[in-house]
Symmetry: D2
Subunit: 388 residues, 4 copies
């Protein structure tokens, strides 16, 4: 029988849904499974919300007391799906209780919080992961494989974007994502960190940044209830408005420790771009292009192809590619957000049962926070800023 591990999930919103689906589905896909995650307890703000989440997400128990839950001896894994402002408190408590932790991204609001989380996790000797799920896309993992095998050569250049428009309308609500005290930062923490994580995964550590940050929409309608509905939120043109105190766009140049240069851009004001995460990497032996909106595909160009047949190949990922043994038996059947979260879940439990630290872990998450911090600093100084 496969080992069963009890999960306590804190937070029942958009991310709770994604994680619950992954717990249920992971062993169905990756079999034999590293472990069977058991949906033991779900925690939400009120008892009523928690009970609803329990029924909806198929957990055994519900609670509104996260502290009690993370200290229960029968819990093996704590899953933090809350807004950013309570990541640190919960994670540190869970670490002290000796639980393995998977925490939604970004790891924290600030470098200080992230460092405290990392320290607590390290001290506790637990396994820990930050849920940057986009690197779990098979096409991104394939890009990493090509790079590791030297098929792209030495990397010269990285170009990453994360463009969205769900809040481009100035009358879309002031969710917690626009409030510094909850989110820590705006487009930097929420979406640019995904690009930073991908850059770290594929190219290596970023050493210096030189950034431009801005806030186009300086007020937004106050949102009743505080639920984070992203693009599914109603416009509220008549509501009272509150201040946006975070950035909604960041552009930056990058210098990598390994010598490559590059750029990143993240914005929530790009009408027509939905979840437009793109990567382009140029090396001495070829190039890679990826667009998450067409995530079944990786584009790769090998410079040593015959002269009359050189060009980007469009590779649809499937059984011949990373995670292909667990996902679908034909390329093009379809990689969705679900599949990325199922892979994430698989990698997390695989690492635990193999007694290896998952990746990206809190150390990696801290590095990403250091880059985010440098981006914000550089946005203020207008200078190149070193990471860390």
């Amino acid at each position: 029988m496969t080992k069963v591990m009890n999960v306590a999930m804190i937070g029942g919103g958009f991310m709770g849904k994604a994680h619950a689906m992954a717990y249920a589905s992971m062993p169905m896909f990756f079999w034999p499974a590293p472990a069977i995650p058991h949906r033991k307890v779900v925690v939400d703000v009120t008892d009523g919300m928690a009970e609803e989440a329990r029924e909806r997400y198929g957990f055994e128990e519900a609670s509104s007391d996260w502290r009690a839950v993370v200290n229960r001896p029968d819990i093996d894994v704590v899953d933090i799906c809350t807004p950013n402002n309570v990541h640190a408190e919960i994670a540190i408590e869970a670490a002290k209780a000796g639980k393995h932790i998977i925490c939604e991204k970004p790891l924290a609001r600030t470098v200080e919080e992230a460092r405290a989380m990392r320290d607590a996790a390290k001290a506790a000797g637990i396994f820990h992961m930050v849920a940057f799920n986009y690197r779990r896309t098979p096409a991104v993992a394939l890009a990493r494989k090509y790079i590791e095998e030297g098929r792209i050569g030495r990397i010269l250049n990285f170009r990453g974007t994360y463009l969205q428009d769900w809040s481009a309308d100035p009358d879309s609500p002031l969710s917690w994502r626009f409030q510094k005290k909850i989110a820590g930062s705006g487009s930097v923490g929420d979406i640019a960190t995904h690009v930073v994580d991908l850059a770290h995964y594929l190219v290596g550590p970023i050493a210096e940044v030189n950034a431009l940050t801005t806030t186009y929409n300086k007020t937004r309608p106050l949102q009743q209830g505080g639920i984070d509905k992203l693009g599914a939120a109603e416009k509220a043109t008549d509501a009272e408005r509150g201040e946006v105190d975070v950035d909604d766009e960041v552009v930056s140049m990058l210098k990598f420790e390994g010598g490559a240069i590059g750029s990143l851009e993240a914005t929530r004001n790009a009408y027509g771009r939905n979840n437009f995460i793109t990567l382009e990497i140029h090396g001495t032996k070829g190039s890679i292009h990826f667009n998450y909106e067409r995530r079944d595909e990786l584009q790769v160009m090998f410079a040593d192809d015959p002269g009359d047949a050189r060009g980007f190949r469009t590779i649809y990922t499937g059984p011949a590619h990373p995670y292909g043994n667990g996902l679908w038996p034909i390329p093009g059947l379809g990689i969705g957000y679900s599949e990325t979260k199922i892979v994430e879940c698989y990698d997390f439990f695989s690492a635990i049962v193999k007694n290896r630290q998952p990746s990206p872990n809190f150390e990696d998450g801290l590095l990403t926070e250091l880059v985010a911090d440098a981006l914000i600093r550089s946005g203020e100084t207008g200078q190149w800023e070193k990471v860390g």
Copy 2:
């Protein structure tokens, strides 16, 4: 509390995995859920296989005796995920036992089987569905919405393809999909029926066909164990070979009852095409294009757009589109095969609790079989053949 319905799933292969994932995930996505499908019993060929499927797919019980299971009083829904050759027998038994049925496509090997299934289901007064999941893709449902709202005008033309290459290599194994006695037919039943279902969904009934069928690879290596691994199967160049007695390509012209004309093509020999289901529909007021390999997107052109701004729009489906309330909060987060199956599950249980026949049901499935039969007949006669 949401109503819980007990599911017995027969078959633990590729489709069993997809269905089990959907049962677990559907209420997480569509909440309040129409019902909570409880994974009660899974049936596979041997007790060992069934027990493994139970653990893997999170069912409560396992069995190798489907007949006993479908007659259990505590079962509400029977889910048929087996190869085609036992669809009829199981479905008829389940119908007699008064269970609602979801059956994988194609409904049956022959028109006769399909008719018997339809008759049994009708006589039993149950709800029944054929699992043509591609019409559950939000982009396809959006196409239907545009058409129903008259935004494309009267439909003149339909062009559909289903191109694959997982068995283009003559040395890929002789799975049951290449054996008439199990599959009924080849590319016609396995993949062309998907296109027929989409044509029926979007345009209406096909009245006549004129087809060309062929079999390029007339033998294939015998497969040990019989597991259906599709594109994940190993090549077996040295193995003994068996005969392929089904078609591997069909091209057809179509006449629809409503006056539109069109074409369909399905082949397993299209190197570089993986799960290339494409639809193009031209109407008197616009056009629609869809490619399942980029299933987050629908392309639509409205002829009455301003003269200097006419062209196909690439719509990424999200909250503003069909099923958007249940799926992800931003377009482009990702529709995968999982999401199509979750939507299918939602539509099935929604219909049951609303006391309505789901669609496509066995009546629709029979119509699709009638078209498949006409395609095969026409492939033999070289003539226009009427459907039914």
Copy 3:
């Protein structure tokens, strides 16, 4: 000094413009040029029109008497850019006069005309070409190169379309292209023949067809003046209407002499498709895809690529590809309609100076007419019809 050859061009419309540009530009691109085409005389319907064409297109002389012109001893080449109804008469006269001929496509209105033209040309021992320019696109020529070198293997399947919408609006004018007595046929002769020519070029002779033809728009506003403005014509909702007596859509299945099967479709009612000529070819070793709307690119897939790097390559044509020595020094600088016509002009004069029959010549043009004729017959009989 490069040999100068005197050209008499009959017809000063859309095609006259394209040909005149090619005469002027060909030696600029392909140098040393096979010959320098001298724009000697242009002929149009009236003296006034001819004089305007002379000035506009840079010819030395103007005339409204094509018969006199084609019999002038100083003319080397006759270029027929008129509507289809006078192709035969002019070509036969020019052949008798011993002139080399380039004739716009389709070669003629009927098989009889085409045969008479072929016979006259053959009897006269001249060089002759039909201006199917799309096969001059470097990407199409590259496809042919791959096929000839065996890199795609044996061809199994061909799928070709030519979709347009410039006359999808029922109120776009009744140009000569909708009148049988001038055009011979509708979408069959005007656009399907392009696909037939490409099929012949890439796959080989078509042996049998089984077609469906239709006319959606049965009347159109009478056009004043008769000028053929295609998509640049004004809508005329109030004008008196005349009958359309040709097809505006054809769908057909194809059997090739070499054993491949396939399909073609040509329509003028495909809203959103402008000049959407697509080809897809599947062979035993790979596949090719081409879309003229993105004509700088050829897509090719080689089945023997490594398992983790298989997919269509997008090749931008340039110096490493056919005609690369004459066109632009970097791929992606841009292949337009101009470039296809310049290449056509180069191939025509190259053949003449090398004392070789150009391709496609009147023999090839006749074969294409035979296919067109079979398409129309099959559209009437609903049966497979042999070509020829």
Copy 4:
């Protein structure tokens, strides 16, 4: 009769070819033509080269003495198609002689040269143009039209790239484009200036830049003969190597005078990118995307489209768009490099005969040089640098 203007073209390389084609073709396309450019004299380095250029490009006379030619009374227009190092000298002489001038881009090697040219032109009261042809692409002109009509709203963001790979191979030759004394700069002057010109055309003046410049390939094989063959050059792995003293990549952040921000990147080391000029512009009412490698198309998204039909439209330019009256009668027939140069020629002569300064003229070209200069300065200082 249309006015005929005599052109003296200096330089018979890649650009000479493109310009000669445009002179011959422009009246064929845009009729009535603003003027008929007469190919009077072509100048090249030696008499032999000039004579060959004369025959090839269809000029009346040849010369190796540009100074004599530009002072001839019968010359109306001087066209400078030489490498960058002699732009200034020729332009100033031609201006003094009172000739209208069209000069290839970039205007000059340095700001000082550009300023001198601007001053000379202004003093002489001539008409003058810099040949930034990419803004002549109909799709780019359409983008400008949308912006001018307010359909995109206030512009927030500009993102431009120019990625090439023709010299990504370290063994491709050391053409003049890699030598500061001839070219002035590398990727900045040669390709980034195109992006700057497009940014100025669509968004307005750039106020400040913050750039990163680098040179990956610091030596290259010496090229015999000095001819500039770009991607058509042979690799020379054994040749003696010379120093590259210019940049081959630039990344920059941008601040526009109007408040928008943005980025640009230009590199010659992007394997798989050929002539990859992309623009993306986000406004308060929509977005625009353009990729020159698919130059027939403009992508535009209007934020006020209905909620269920929002997305980028792919507009194929044709008769309904800028320059549509002169180019081809159907969208998708094909815009190539030729067509952009024909449009450029049309705009140049149109301005002259309408007694208006063309755009971009030497004043605009100087502004672009000022941005180029700021990019290079910023690449050295690592700071934000003001333009001018």
